[in-house]
C-alpha cells in the first residue's frame, strides 16, 4: 500500500502526564479481549481452565503466530502479504515430495525453509523490483502458489514421515515437571528475535520509516527497497518454518492445508496495534493479540460453539478493537484541543 495513498489518520495527542500509559494503549484491546475470553471460557465450561490441555492444543496457534511475526514487519513497511498461507502449502508440498523421493527429513525440512524464502523473494521481485501494488500481487500469488502446491502434490497426501519427526507439538521441554510445549518456546524465541530486529537494529528503524513516509525515507538515505524485500523474504521464511511445524503436527502433507490462515494472521497483526497503513506496530502487540485470539477461539470451541459463529465473533472483535481505540483517541483529541484554547 503506497504511503501517499493514506486517508486521514487520527494522530495520538498524549496529554501531559499520560505519556507512560499511552505506550500501553495499543495493547489494551488485546489484553481486554484476552481477559473477557478467559472469563467467558471459565464461566461457560468447567473444562476450560485446563492449562495443560490448552498448551497441548497450542501448536496450530504457534503456526499462525509465526506467520503473523513476518506479516508484522511487512505491514509496518506499509505493504501486505496475502500469499503466506499458500506459501506454507508449497513449502510443505515440496518437503513431502522430497521425502518421498528419498531425501532425509532434515534436508527436506531445510528445503521447505528455502522454498518459503524463495517464494517470498518472488513476491519481492514483483512488488519491490517492479513497483507493483502489494495487495494485488499477493492476491495473485495467493492463487498462483496454491495452484502450485496442488500441482506438486496432485491428489495424494504424503504420510511417510519418520516417527521422530511427527508430533513436535506434543514435546514438552521440561517433561513432567511443567508442561512447556516445544512450539511455544520456539515462538517466543522467534518473537524475541523479531522484536530485537524491529526495535534495536537499523533494519527495524528502516521499517518504521519506510512505513510512515516512503518518499521522506528514500530522501533520508534509507534503503527502502532492501527493507521491503527483506521483510517479504523473512515472511516467506517463517511460512516455510510454519510448514515444517504443521507437517510435524499433522503427520501428513496435503495440498489444501492452511486455507484461510492468512486472514487470521492479518487479524492477529492488526489486533496487536499494528496500523494497516504502516509505520506503527510492535512484535509484543502481535504476540499479545495471538494469545487473545487463542483465548477467544479456545473458549468458544470448548463451549461447543460452531465454526461459523466463531469466525463471526473474531470478525466482531477485530472491528471493535479498531473502532474503540480510534474513537477514544479522537475524543481525547477534541478534549485536549479544547483545553488549548
Amino acid at each position: 500500500m503506497s504511503n501517499d495513498a493514506k486517508p486521514h489518520e487520527p494522530q495520538t495527542v498524549p496529554a501531559s502526564n499520560s505519556r507512560r500509559s499511552a505506550v500501553l494503549v495499543p495493547y489494551l484491546p488485546s489484553i481486554a479481549i484476552f481477559v473477557v475470553a478467559v472469563i467467558y471460557g471459565t464461566v461457560s465450561s468447567p473444562y476450560f481452565l485446563n492449562f495443560s490441555a490448552i498448551l497441548v492444543n497450542s501448536g496450530r496457534y504457534v503456526e499462525i503466530g509465526m506467520l503473523a511475526l513476518g506479516l508484522t514487519l511487512v505491514i509496518i513497511n506499509g505493504d501486505i502479504d496475502l500469499s503466506v498461507a499458500s506459501n506454507l502449502a508449497v513449502s510443505a508440498a515440496t518437503m513431502g515430495l522430497l521425502l518421498e523421493g528419498g531425501v532425509p527429513i532434515q534436508l527436506a525440512a531445510l528445503a521447505a525453509l528455502a522454498v518459503g524464502m524463495g517464494l517470498g523473494a518472488i513476491n519481492a521481485v514483483f512488488i519491490v523490483g517492479m513497483g507493483l501494488p502489494s495487495l494485488v500481487v499477493t492476491l495473485a500469488t495467493l492463487a498462483l502458489y496454491r495452484g502450485l502446491a496442488q500441482i506438486i502434490l496432485g491428489d495424494h497426501a504424503v504420510t511417510a514421515y519418520p516417527e521422530e519427526f511427527i508430533g513436535v507439538d506434543q514435546v514438552s521441554l521440561l517433561g513432567d515437571i511443567a508442561i512447556v510445549p516445544m512450539p511455544l518456546v520456539m515462538l517466543i524465541g522467534f518473537a524475541l528475535l523479531f522484536g530485537f530486529l524491529l526495535s534495536r537494529t537499523n533494519f527495524g528503524i528502516s521499517c518504521y520509516l519506510t512505513g510512515s513516509n516512503q518518499q521522506a525515507a528514500k530522501f533520508s538515505g534509507i534503503r527502502i527497497d532492501r527493507t521491503r524485500a527483506t521483510a517479504f523474504m523473512l515472511t516467506g521464511l517463517m511460512a516455510g518454518a510454519a510448514a515444517v511445524m504443521m507437517t510435524s503436527r499433522l503427520g501428513s502433507t496435503l495440498s489444501n492445508v492452511g486455507l484461510g490462515l492468512e486472514l487470521l494472521a492479518i487479524t492477529v497483526v492488526v489486533l496487536g496495534g499494528t496500523s494497516i497503513f504502516g509505520g506503527r506496530g510492535t512484535v509484543l502487540g502481535t504476540i499479545i493479540a495471538l494469545f487473545a485470539v487463542m483465548a477467544v477461539r479456545e473458549s468458544l470451541v470448548i463451549s461447543n460453539v460452531n465454526g461459523q459463529v466463531q469466525d463471526a465473533l473474531v470478525g466482531v472483535i477485530l472491528i471493535v478493537a479498531i473502532v474503540v481505540p480510534q474513537t477514544v483517541t479522537r475524543f481525547r483529541e477534541r478534549v485536549s484541543t479544547k483545553r488549548l484554547r
Binding site: I54, Q170, N304
Partner: protein, 362 residues
C-alpha cells in the same frame, strides 16, 4: 533500551506464569504420549468404563464435515432420536469449512471436555490421526461415521452401505436410466475425497472386469469440488465436450443437484440423464419435472441410530470391539463389526423415483 527490557520482562513473566499454572493444574497429561501410540486395549477400557459409569449420562460429541448439510442433519436426527433412550447426550459441532484440518480444534476440545465418545465424519484420512489417537489414549471411544480415516485412528467405522460394492452399483444405476447404452461421465466431489475415490476405483474395476453392461462407455471423470458453481460449470462443460453424452452420474449431493439444475434449464433435458447419489428433498423437483428418472442414496439416520447403540454397548461392556463381532441394534437388526478394520455396514442403498419420492423428508 527500555522497550527491550519491557519486552523481555513481559515475555518472561508470561512464560513463567504459564509454566506455573501448567504445573499446578491437575488435568490429563496426555502430552508425553506421542502420536504413534497404539489404541488402548479393549479389555482395559471397558473395565475402566464400567467402573466410571455409575448411572451418569454418556456424553458423545459428533463432528460432521460441516453444518447446514441436510445429509448430515439426517445422521444427527438418528443420533438425537436414539440417544435419550440410552441415557446419552449428544453434542454436535462442526467447522465453518470442510477443510482437511478444520475439525481438529473440535476433536481437541472434546478431549478436553473428557467426553465418553467422539463420532466424526472425517474430512481427511490422515491429518486427524494425531488428535484422534490422543483421544483414544485418553480413554475416549472414537467412531468414524459415513467416511473413514486410517484404521488405527479409530475404534470402529460405520459406513452407510457397502462401499466396496458402491462403484459397481453406480455403474448399474447408470445402465438402468440410460437403457444400457451410451457415453456417460462421473461428476465427483473433490479429487482428494477418499470415499469418492474408492467408489470411482470400484467402478473402474467393474468396467475393466468385463461384466459391466457392454453398451456403456465411461468417457470422463470431472470434479465439482462440492461447490455449486464449480459443479455447474463442470456439468455444462461435459455437455460441451461430449455431444453424444447419454448420462451424468454424480455420486455427491451437491454435484447431482447442480447437474440436474443445469439440465433442467437446458434444451437437452430428458435427453441426457442425470443420476447418482442425492437427497430426496433436494431432488424432488427434478423427479417431478422429468429431469431425473431415478437416483439413489440410503437412509443416513440409520448410521446415527447404530452409532448411538454401539457406543452405549461398548461403554457398558455388552459389546466388545473386535475383528468379527455381531451385535444387535434395537429396532434395526443385527449388525457386524467386520474385518481387521472393524467396519460396520449400516444398510443397503435406497432408490428414489417418482413412485416414492414423496415418502421421505431429508
Amino acid at each position: 533500551m527500555r522497550k527491550v527490557r519491557r519486552l523481555t520482562g513481559i515475555v518472561a513473566l508470561a512464560a513463567s506464569t504459564t509454566m506455573i499454572l501448567a504445573a499446578c493444574s491437575g488435568g490429563e497429561s496426555s502430552t508425553e504420549e506421542t502420536a504413534t501410540e497404539e489404541a488402548v486395549v479393549v479389555e482395559e477400557t471397558s473395565a475402566e468404563a464400567t467402573e466410571e459409569n455409575s448411572g451418569e449420562a454418556l456424553r458423545m460429541t459428533y463432528i460432521p464435515k460441516n453444518l447446514g448439510n441436510p445429509y448430515f442433519d439426517a445422521i444427527v436426527k438418528g443420533l438425537n432420536e436414539t440417544a435419550p433412550g440410552l441415557n446419552m447426550t449428544v453434542e454436535v459441532v462442526a467447522p465453518a469449512q470442510a477443510g482437511a484440518t478444520d475439525q481438529i480444534p473440535f476433536i481437541d476440545a472434546a478431549i478436553q471436555q473428557e467426553v465418553d465418545a467422539i463420532a466424526i465424519s472425517p474430512n481427511d484420512l490422515d491429518a486427524l490421526c494425531p488428535s484422534l489417537k490422543r483421544a483414544m489414549a485418553a480413554g475416549i471411544w472414537v467412531l468414524t461415521v459415513n467416511g473413514d480415516t486410517a484404521p488405527d485412528c479409530r475404534d470402529a467405522s460405520i459406513t452407510p452401505v457397502d462401499f466396496s460394492q458402491l462403484g459397481k452399483y453406480l455403474v448399474d444405476l447408470t445402465a438402468e436410466v440410460t437403457g444400457g447404452e451410451g457415453e456417460w461421465a462421473f461428476l465427483s466431489a473433490t479429487s482428494t475425497a477418499p470415499d469418492q475415490n474408492s467408489w470411482l476405483e470400484g467402478a473402474a474395476e467393474y468396467i475393466a472386469g468385463g461384466s459391466s453392461p457392454a453398451g456403456l462407455t465411461l468417457v470422463d471423470t470431472v470434479y465439482g469440488d462440492d461447490a455449486p458453481d464449480k459443479s455447474s460449470t463442470e456439468a455444462q462443460a461435459l455437455l460441451t465436450k461430449y455431444p453424444n453424452l447419454a448420462a451424468i452420474n454424480a455420486p455427491t449431493t451437491v454435484g447431482i443437484a447442480a447437474a440436474a439444475q443445469v439440465l433442467s434449464q437446458s434444451p437437452k433435458k430428458g435427453q441426457i440423464q442425470v443420476t447418482g447419489l442425492g437427497t430426496p428433498n433436494q431432488m424432488r423437483e427434478f423427479i417431478k419435472d422429468g429431469t431425473v428418472k431415478k437416483f439413489a442414496l440410503w437412509d443416513p439416520s440409520l448410521q446415527g441410530v447404530i452409532a448411538a447403540n454401539l457406543i452405549a454397548g461398548l461403554q457398558n461392556g455388552t459389546i466388545k470391539a473386535g475383528e468379527q463381532v455381531k451385535f444387535d441394534v434395537p429396532g434395526v437388526g443385527e449388525r457386524t463389526m467386520a474385518g481387521a478394520d472393524r467396519i460396520i455396514i449400516a444398510g443397503d442403498p435406497q432408490e428414489f423415483d417418482a413412485s416414492n419420492i414423496d415418502d421421505f423428508d431429508f
